[in-house]
Amino acid sequence: MSEHGRNQVRRSRIVDAANRKDSNKPVRSNGGRSSGLGRIIIAVYGVLALSATVRAVYQILLDFDAAPLAYLLSALAGAVYIVATLALASKKPGSWRLSWYAVLFELVGVLVVGTLSFALPALFAHPAVWSHFGSGYGYVPLVLPLIGLWWLARHKMPETREQGAGK
């Protein structure tokens, strides 16, 4: 069953009406990575990137000395979330690899920092994105990379598009 294929039968009149206008435009594909569920994943990454970055900048500007390590790690996490969001949405060759490593980095980050925050609580007395496995963000930082890696594995590079996009 195709979730993102261009050949599927469309039976929504509203969508058909909207399509009629731009059906002649050529479509560039990145293997279906940024449509369907992928689009939701990208949107959640975008929200997380924004909230993590803004909060880290705010904490660093106002209260850096309270927990420098935690805040710097939050800023790093925010930056990598931005990279991941843009790479996931990109159609350029190489963006698949970049998003894979960005998402993998986040998984490693949340696991390492999450473990450290329980082992060395003194370093993470103040809230950060990755501390306690992202509990301050509803564990989204822990769950999202897993979903992201699964999704990316199913939607490989455009070069090998037909494999990834099928099913």
Partner: protein, 124 residues
């Protein structure tokens, strides 16, 4: 009280939008017309709700919270069904229905909050 009638109507519309969105996610692989129409109706409701609120406020009815907060919520809520609709029409996948369902849930939370600000009748 007139406000509660609006709240009940809005809550029902939100529930319908959520249910249709979830159901369509399960049984459809494209955006479902009924789910789209439900979200469009929700937008119409919010417009009517806003007009009614403006009339009541212009008529001098007291508001228990901050008026700017109420209108801030309303303006944001007005954007949500539109965004979900555009998302669904441009994405054209099974998951567009999920987005429609989530938009209904978000609007419900905002409507609940608006009612609290308006008359303070609902528990926090």
């Amino acid at each position: 009280m007139i406000v509660d009638g609006f709240f009940i109507a809005g809550a029902i519309l939100c529930a319908v939008a959520v249910l249709l969105g979830v159901l369509a996610t399960i049984i459809r692989t494209y955006p479902d017309d009924f789910a789209l129409v439900a979200v469009a109706l929700l937008e119409v409701f919010l417009v009517v709700y806003g007009i009614a609120a403006a009339i009541r406020q212009a008529g001098g009815q007291a508001i228990s919270g901050e008026p700017w907060e109420f209108w801030g919520y309303l303006l944001t809520a007005l954007l949500i069904p539109v965004l979900a609709f555009v998302w669904a029409v441009t994405d054209k996948s099974r998951w567009s229905n999920t987005v429609l369902a989530v938009s209904g849930a978000i609007v419900f939370v905002m409507l609940y909050r608006m009612e609290q600000i308006w008359d303070g009748a609902l528990p926090a």
